[in-house]
């Protein structure tokens, strides 16, 4: 029987069942420890980045090539017919007629969902505006499972910009299927949006809003840091909150031994450089795991069995 993601579009985390999330995570683990260079043999993947991206694009293209596939595409929508006014629907009809799957990033929300309605081949969302970035969530889940041995019954703190950070929205949506508990640590102006909190309430997920980063550190398994963007505040306001959401090595003195610090990157100054050499730092390995999570997804979408 074909795996449940075979020939499926990968658009948004709420579309995934718990079993499908686990399948990607477990497949990523297998590919990390036993690399395969044949799973995308003779496959051509369209890498369509209507908006520039460094890590997502490079890790997708690495994933394709490591699995023995080939890539065509573009890294910036400015040089495409989208610039001439072509609809995304038309662009995708054409590109999907050339390729076996389309990986895309687009500045508009909903672009991947729309593309999936016009594509002859599976569409994988590499980020649609401020909406979803499912492969980031899948690599986060893989990293959490890798470091904790499970996705169940964990306690996680999300720190920083929880309002605009799509990675934290999707990750809480995914983990709500695994009986996890959350702490949300952010300035009031960047608090978790109501609609996410309402979704968590509906599912009976436990979460607590807290002010102090230091207080939650001893209680959590995963500390998920995000960047507080200076441009979201005026100068005086920013000075008030600056430093409150910055992690330094000395703050980890009472951390659980299994605590890992994650960050979707790029980081600016919210994780001090001295954290890098602690056993808790895991964000660079997390970024490396992006290749395995994307390999797993591509392999599952394009092979009946992996």
């Amino acid at each position: 029987m074909a795996n449940p993601l075979y020939r499926k579009h990968i658009i948004s985390i709420p579309d995934f069942s718990r079993e499908e999330l686990e399948l990607v995570v477990d497949t990523a683990g297998r590919l990390k420890h036993a690399p395969r260079n044949d799973l995308l043999k003779d496959k051509l993947i369209g890498s369509c980045f209507f908006e520039p991206s460094t890590r997502t694009r490079l890790s997708f293209e690495t994933a394709v090539q490591r699995l023995g596939g080939n890539v065509i595409g573009f890294a910036d929508g400015a040089n495409t017919s989208a610039k001439k006014g072509e609809t995304l629907a038309d662009s995708i009809k054409i590109i999907s007629s050339y390729t076996d799957a389309v990986v895309m990033r687009h500045p508009k929300e909903g672009a991947a969902r729309l593309a999936s309605q016009f594509s002859a081949v599976p569409v994988i969302n590499g980020g649609d505006g401020s909406n979803q970035h499912p492969t980031q969530t899948l690599l986060d889940l893989f990293t959490i499972k890798e470091t904790q041995g499970t996705l169940e019954n964990l306690t996680l703190a999300f720190v920083g910009d929880l309002k605009y950070g799509r990675t934290v929205h999707s990750l809480t949506q995914a983990l709500s299927q695994f009986n996890c508990r959350f702490y949300f640590v952010s300035p009031e102006a960047l608090a978790m949006p109501d609609y996410i909190c309402e979704e968590l309430d509906e599912k009976g997920v436990q979460y607590t809003l807290v002010n102090s980063l230091e207080d939650v550190i001893p209680q959590v398994d995963i500390l998920y840091m995000t960047r507080v963007q200076r441009e979201r505040f005026d100068e005086a306001e920013f000075r008030k909150i600056q430093g409150k959401y910055v992690l330094r090595a000395d703050m980890l003195a009472n951390a659980r031994p299994n605590l890992k610090v994650l960050h979707p990157l790029p980081r600016v100054d919210e994780i001090a450089a001295d954290v890098d050499s602690t056993p808790h730092a895991y964000y660079f390995e997390q970024a490396r795991n992006g290749v395995y999570a994307r390999q797993a997804l591509l392999a599952l979408v394009l092979n009946e069995t992996v």
């Binding site: 995304l88 929300e109 909903g110 672009a111 969902r113 729309l114």
Partner: protein, 152 residues
């Protein structure tokens, strides 16, 4: 009643009655009833025993479907929609909130891909305690129904 003399009985078509006063023109425009080319009669601020004041819309030669009637439920849950054939009421729609709404409203999110592409807007409808929420299928943003209805 005054209006029964000035608005003649409908031979074929649909009567949308018991609209809250003030909603008649809004519904006329949202559902593009005036663009049908058929004769449309609108009554505003008519007296009603139960509602005090009400609006009414009569559209000739068009029978509203169950789906269209349910879309009305967003704005006028207590409206009655009667389909008329040969001066007789042949169908009385019971209004129920639809699960989805396609093509009536634009997505309020200006950065949503549904604008300027060859697709109809599409919302999932979710009643909550104090409001009805609408979630855009494309951008996945959730809006109060009043925000969605004001966009058009």
């Amino acid at each position: 009643m005054q209006y029964t003399r000035t608005v003649e009985a409908l031979k074929e078509g649909t009567v949308i009655d018991h609209l809250p006063a003030g909603q008649g023109l809004r519904i006329l425009s949202l559902f593009k009833l005036a663009d049908t080319g058929e004769r449309v009669t609108v009554g505003l601020n008519l007296s009603s025993r139960h509602m005090g004041a009400k609006d009414i819309i009569k559209v000739e030669n068009i029978a509203l479907t169950e789906e269209q009637a349910n879309e009305l439920a967003l704005f006028a849950p207590r409206a009655t929609v009667n389909v008329i054939e040969n001066f007789e009421v042949v169908k009385k729609h019971q209004l129920e909130l639809p699960e989805t709404i396609e093509g009536i409203f634009d997505c309020p999110n200006s950065n949503c891909i549904s604008h300027g592409e060859p697709v109809k807007s599409f919302f999932y409808v979710k009643p909550t305690v104090n409001d009805t929420k609408m979630k855009c299928k494309y951008c996945e943003k959730v809006f109060s129904k009043d925000i969605v209805a004001e966009v058009k």
